[in-house]
Amino acid sequence: MEQVSSTSERRANVSTSNERSRWREAYATSPAAGSHATTLSGIDLDPVYGPPDAEYPGLFPYTRGIHPAMYRSRLWTMRMFAGFGTAPETNARFREIIAAGGTGISTAYDMPTLLGLDSDDERALGEVGRCGVAIDTLDDVSDLYDGIDLASITTSMTINAPAAAIFAMFVANAEDHGVARAQLGGTLQNDILKEYQAQHEYTFPPRPSLRLVRDTMVFAAREMPRWNPISISGYHIREAGSTAAQELAFTLANGFAYVELALRAGLDIDEVAPRLSFFFNAHIDFFEEIAKYRAARRLYAHWMREVFQARQERSWQLRFHAQTAGVSLTAQQPDNNHARTALEALAAVLGGAQSLHTNSFDEAWTLPSAPAARAALRTQQIIAYETNVTQVADPLGGSWFVEALTDRIADEATQLLEEVRDMGAGSMLEGCLAGIDHGWFEGHIADSAYAHERAVQRGERLIVGVNAFTDDESSPPPPIQTNASGEARQRERLDRVRSERDAAGVARSLAELAAQARDPERNLMPALMDAARARATLGEVTQTLVEVFGRYQAAPR
């Protein structure tokens, strides 16, 4: 220890402009300056280790992290994702999470809401409140956040096709409860490109969908300084079966497409970039995941500075949320899932995540029960407060293996990024759209998923409890009972709102929305907020927009 740091000191004296001395300056102004940490046995720990000419955290290209002392300055946000049944039921879960020490909330919506359908739509039969919370009107949003201080906690919304309409309901509700839009902090997923590529919860065709994304980005840039209008999500791409490098490449490609979109709308790169955040999977291959996050930061920093000419440091820094891999969990021998989630969460932390959701062990077969969700949060707290891994930034930096893997994933992702750009004749936005049209993304993902499953079927890849060590016959407990009457109660609630609202006002607000939707220059956020306040339903708003924009039909393959 002593030896190493005195050697570094000597080198630092030779060249004062080396990376280590630049890091030292950045560290001195960070919230962690002057902090002191030791191991469990009392050995002093530096905030970071490395030779003078290495890369350092907090410095371009941020391979080792975006802050000079990472978690010594600030822990990641323990953001637990929840949503089921009706808004009051999910509200109760949110309150439990906050009471248990969760530092952010994240909303899961049911399938009808994700597709912009009302709970009384015949296509919604059997799906209402099942995979998330059902939202039909502003009144449901009001119930969802009842008693939660929206000015102090940050909220995240996992919604895409109808993101603008749900966002409008959220902002209108907060304002109706006395919280100004400028005070609201949080993240809208709003990443429609990956819906066509992987997740398949789309409604409108790509180009009008991107117009809605543009409108939310511009609205947030102008009026909501604490809001991230888009969370570019590789998570679903990976869950659909991609490799780590594909997850990284496709996600960055989509991110750069949204940057182009915002620039076309007249926003400045340094106005847009600081509000972009990413969402990656934390899968079971420990070192590959860590290398993926490191490669992500490095590639993004270079692209933002060199391709998009961003000038502010914050614009070069890739911030990301991670979620442990749902697909890695098994219904067989479910207790094993605790170990999987803990290892995946540790990879996300060693990879420098800004926020994290840990899956519950029961998510292989059901929505998480409250005790399981609490244990998942406790897993993060054990990593944060017991393991001491938070004291040293990028502890694996300099490992020959991890550095080589980081380079390799960055190279593979760069090749794929260049393919996308070529498909768009130089434009990432057009490249993503062309790739969607041609099934290029889906083809890559399906090939990887198939290769993985074939390896599992042949026993070349082992999954404990599935194709190895299957002797233990423990089976999952019964699934969480989403209240069977939930669907009926949600429909009754919707009936009541429909009967009590001013029908003429709804019709006026929808007619105005349609008129503005026909003018591609208009920002639809104000009209969407007016419709929300008039108690137009999500389904009515979506149908109004479908009549202008059309409905997306995936090409048969």
Binding site: I463, N467, S475, P479
Partner: protein
């Protein structure tokens, strides 16, 4: 003989990793596989099964709506006088298996099912349905 199988997604569930992978693995095993694509109604699945003259229908449902949707597909098929076996793959809790059987679902397959088992079951169901003892 070569089995002709229709694999189908009904309802709003967009998760298609499983259905795509299983379609390819069944083809590898020598079956002819037709895939409906996403977001089908029970009626459209039944119509495709009849038009394509398939030997078996496999539904992939990961949203939890299997108790609502799978029986509707069976009913739609029977309404068209189509009596081929219908199976469901996805996240099916043990407690739901009996209800699905009663609704006419011939077999269910959970996560981690082996393709060899799926193929053997399809062949057995087909033999039973056609009265062909092989």
């Amino acid at each position: 003989m070569t089995l002709r199988v229709l694999v189908a997604k009904v309802g709003l569930d967009g998760h298609d990793r499983g259905v795509n992978v299983i379609a390819r693995l069944l083809r590898d095993a020598g079956m002819e596989v037709i895939y409906t694509g996403l977001f089908q109604s029970p009626e459209s699945v039944a119509r495709t099964a009849v038009d394509e003259d398939v030997d078996l229908v496999g539904l992939s449902i990961l949203s939890g709506a299997h108790l609502t949707l799978a029986p509707l597909v069976v009913d739609a098929l029977r309404a068209l006088e189509c009596h081929v076996p219908v199976v469901v793959g996805g996240i099916i809790p043990d407690g739901d298996v009996d209800a699905l059987r009663r609704a006419g679902i011939a077999a269910t397959f959970g996560p981690g099912s082996s393709v060899d088992d799926i193929v053997a079951t399809f062949e057995k169901l087909h033999r039973a349905a056609t009265g062909d003892d092989g």
